[in-house]
Point group: D3
Chain length 251, copies 6
């Protein structure tokens, strides 16, 4: 007898297990592999997206009894802004949009035509909105993009590799924070994202305004903060899944 799984990692399932699902929802985590300062891992955005996706889907399954498949996280996003820092990976916005959209459409082919992207990277936000609109207007499916750190109402500042993201990694994968670097990471962090004149950011690369790639002081976000942030994001995602499942939609 198989134990009931309350979160369904698509990659771990067989095709008959996927066929047996009774939902048309699917969740696609989207990350980025990019510098997060001298203390946090390049995979921060993907790890956070996966953790929130899993927690949010569990909440939804607990509430509705319905299992929802979670696609493997898309690991490389729109991150050329961090090109000055080694190890940052990126693709062009056009290629990102195509890769994510087509992945989503292959899920829709199997009947999972209510799609929620769970995003962990600021640089992906507008591209995900754009491609979700294309899917929703010009295919049979309906898609929306949820960005975990935009969904929560929290006093922990965001920044980049800052309190909010560092807190989450301290909660979910503490061994990946190089705490020996966190002190100096905070001391040399920038306190702002971008260089602004008249509502316009003059900078395109993060190296223009942050010497070590960090914005915000990572010392200000604890593992406990991270736990609360993931829980809050999971609540938001659960609400969103309900709304997406029920929404009237025609292309």
């Amino acid at each position: 007898m198989t134990t009931v799984r309350i979160s369904m990692q698509l990659s771990d399932a067989t095709w008959p297990q996927i066929s047996a699902l009774e939902t048309n929802l699917a969740v696609i985590p989207v990350g980025s592999t990019e510098q997060h300062g001298p203390h946090a891992p390049l995979g921060t955005d993907a790890l956070a997206a996966e953790a929130v996706a899993k927690a949010g889907v569990e909440a939804y399954t607990n509430q509705t009894g319905l299992e929802v498949p979670i696609a493997p996280v898309i690991p490389v996003g729109i991150a050329e802004e961090h090109r000055a820092f080694d190890g940052t990976l990126w693709v062009s916005p056009d290629t990102f949009r195509a890769y994510v959209r087509e992945t989503a459409e292959s899920l829709a082919h199997h009947g999972f035509d209510r799609l929620v992207f769970v995003n962990g990277h600021g640089g992906n936000v507008t591209a995900l909105r754009e491609l979700s609109g294309e899917i929703s207007r010009h295919s049979e499916a309906y898609a929306v993009a949820f960005t975990w750190f935009d969904s929560v109402d929290s006093e922990i500042p965001m920044g980049h590799g800052g309190p909010r993201e560092t807190a989450v990694i301290r909660h979910i994968r503490p061994e990946l924070i190089d705490e020996s670097e966190a002190e100096t990471a905070g001391q040399h962090a920038s306190d702002h994202w971008g260089e602004w004149v008249a509502g316009v950011n003059l900078a395109y690369d993060s190296a223009a305004f942050s010497q070590n790639g960090v914005v915000g002081d990572p010392r200000e976000g604890s593992a406990k903060d991270g736990e609360q942030l993931v829980a809050a994001a999971a609540d938001g995602l659960c609400m969103l899944l309900e709304a997406v499942a029920e929404r009237d939609h025609e292309a």
Copy 2:
């Protein structure tokens, strides 16, 4: 004092750790998320690619003392041929080539301009060869594509979701094989890939020649076989890394 890691998962590292590396090699695992029969997980190809990449890089590091970064696995490939089976994800060949190529070029931007793709899916083979040629002829980098199951000389048959792949998953993630399905998976498996006339495969979709998506009998590949297959592939990859590091190349 930091412990020496003998395998370098790029996603787990910070950017200064990547900056400190003394190699221009990098490894990019490439998978697929697609049906592997009623007994094996949709993520089989990605899991195998990651396992071989890790083992091969460890062998190389042991031999040379040089750490080589391993990018996060690219999870969705060219797999429309399995569209009849639920949960299979795919992108078009054009989008796959762009996504993989641009990811590789972002590594080359940081000086990792000797690139080895470690591939776990037959449907990706020719696309990876094509894009590796484009990189090698038309950029400053040099790239080659290694497909683990084509690198080994073994009596364990390949198929699809067959003995060779099932053996590897039984070795690296045994809990993901649904052994309760393996028996019937083997009974209903096809014994051939494709429908051939005069050297031409008339079929485009695997459903045309396999009722359950399986080719080859998965009962014929044990965890021990899987261990040997991964070891053999790792040896091949290690040799390849040496050859790539030393090769004269100009675009």
Copy 3:
């Protein structure tokens, strides 16, 4: 003897007049042709962008003595969200990005390689940011995108066809406001843009949340408010031109 022109409409000039300029700045107004409710013209965004561009460039010329060419306004943008309302024109985001970027690069060919887009439409914002980044990172030019209504600090609410935009048209082209419709436009206006759950807008088309296409009450923005808004935006644009002229940049 030629009178000194303090604003330089590129379309009205001859090529030797353009050759004689002593700046490397150029301004490109970007609009949209799309519904702005039953009371305001489809060309609202283009008209506002042109007016702000002219006023901002005049301020800059007054301050520095340098004339700056203003390209003709780009009339069609990213506006499919208003497709439910007749007369709305749009192109795809990809085509918009290509058209605007190549127009800008043709200016850079002549040495005008410090480019400021003056935008009047919310739907264009992220696409202009994306293409400005592409120009700035991958060509010899440097470009930024200024959106007039995001540059001003004002108590007049934005909305769509709402107080802020209607005020500006009342100031610059009052005959184009159908005042006989303004009353009911305000009565049936929506008071919010989008339908939000957990930080995600579930709606893609404005018709989903506004019956007549209007968001915000157009009765709340007078011609005098419009005058102040244009003046404030012009001040911001003038400051931005100075900053762009002086900024260190390398691709």
Copy 4:
């Protein structure tokens, strides 16, 4: 009570005014921003296209009682051939075709599926023919491209910035002709377009055969000639609108 407008500038109208129209015709002026010699404005082609569009639509409305919407002029076309002269703007042919075609298709979305481009630039002619064919064969709409100077039978020579175009600008916007330059413009004008051998033009840039960008003597076209040219073109356009309205078409 609203006065009846006999020409309908789409940009000046509200969406309900466009909804009230009883035609499926629409007119899209297409210009270019490019050198027209030392005497004529860079915007010559756009200005002429707009003037002819307006006059032709008025004639059609007078004749039929039907108002026809006129889209805003597309300001940048295929003009790289004039790149040697400052201020010339251009986009690639591919981008021009996409931008114009998608603009037209957005009009067709609202039911204006009989489309007439009114073009003022020789470099756009074949691209407009190509995209009109694509629309007509592969969408529900029908489109044709009218080039004003090819529609008239006149003894005033064409050239470039020559008698025909200068005459029209002298008629519609006389203040934009720098008459102080017209004398020398004519003296240094080329008397031919291109460098021909065996029916082939060897030149790609106008600078190869015209020192100041002019072909033909602009002194030979008066404002009165311009008036007659616009009237003749308007007559042609009116006839064309009737023919397009009545034509049987299926994709």
Copy 5:
């Protein structure tokens, strides 16, 4: 001992024979495979282009002593206008431009960077001009497009499958003219290409104005006329090759 060849079919030569050439000229015939009425073969345009290319290159070789390579004819062009008639082949304009341009650039790679297209199809003319401009402005090579029937000054009317083309095929491949059909072909031929109003062709498909695909009476062009036409076109091509070889060019 090898006989001197005075025409150099690239396909028939070995690579060392091509290496030994002392010219930077190359000729690329471009045809189309499309209906030419009930009497003339679908390959008419390719056959004529090849014949003129060969004769023109022979004339040039006789005059200068230099052999010039002739690429294989490109067989499929822009011919969707004839889609109503069976056997007509076509590709989209974008694909045609890419295929021809890249073929030419591969010749330029070997040092044949003065390129002359010898074209036999009206539908290819503007696309060849466009791509030749792209090559000449944006690569190291220089290219022009010669269309045989536009190069000759002759009283034999052109049409389509009409006197001029039929004459040439009667000269070069008489067995391919179905003379039993020529009589009725002429009787049912159209006497005009297109349906014109105000300088605009309302028709996109040849079937709209020709019942059998023919324009002009094929009975009016004899084999002797064809011989003279080919000779005249060859003279023009020879002159063009001289001009192209000598022309100053920089991108």
Copy 6:
């Protein structure tokens, strides 16, 4: 009275002759123009593809009484690997796929929706498979790609410009083999294609492993061998045509 043709060259036929055919099969030969050593012509692949197509279609017609149209050979393929040898022509894989696919789809437009590519070049194999899959899955047509040298079971080795290809040209166009070079061609030929490590070919260009472009000894393939090879390939193609005509297919 017309003689019955048992092979139908599309280019030689008129459109009514094509209309009269009673098959939905069509054959499209695909070649390449590329170095084949100092002894064999650049057009080897196209010539072989045409010869096999003709022989195979004749066999099919003899057997079934049905004539099948043969399109003109596509002359330029994916051959950048031979760029080091003069005269080699190539296009990018993307352009090749588009050109071949669209040509095929124009045949399908006329009802020839069972398409067989007859290929003569190894570098085209995977691209033809990819585009055939796209046609078969996403259009109304069904297409397969047959590569003559992969279809035959023969002891004559393949190589490149080696025994198998040289034998075929000695049979079909003996005058194009430069026999005076065949001796040294064989002496300096490589005995392997590529440079292999762990199942990976490290070389992208043939010049990396063959000094004169030849792989395999061309002296080992006689005209008689060539005759047998063409006959064997024709038999295979005939069987394939039967299978394709009868196959159930839905996109």
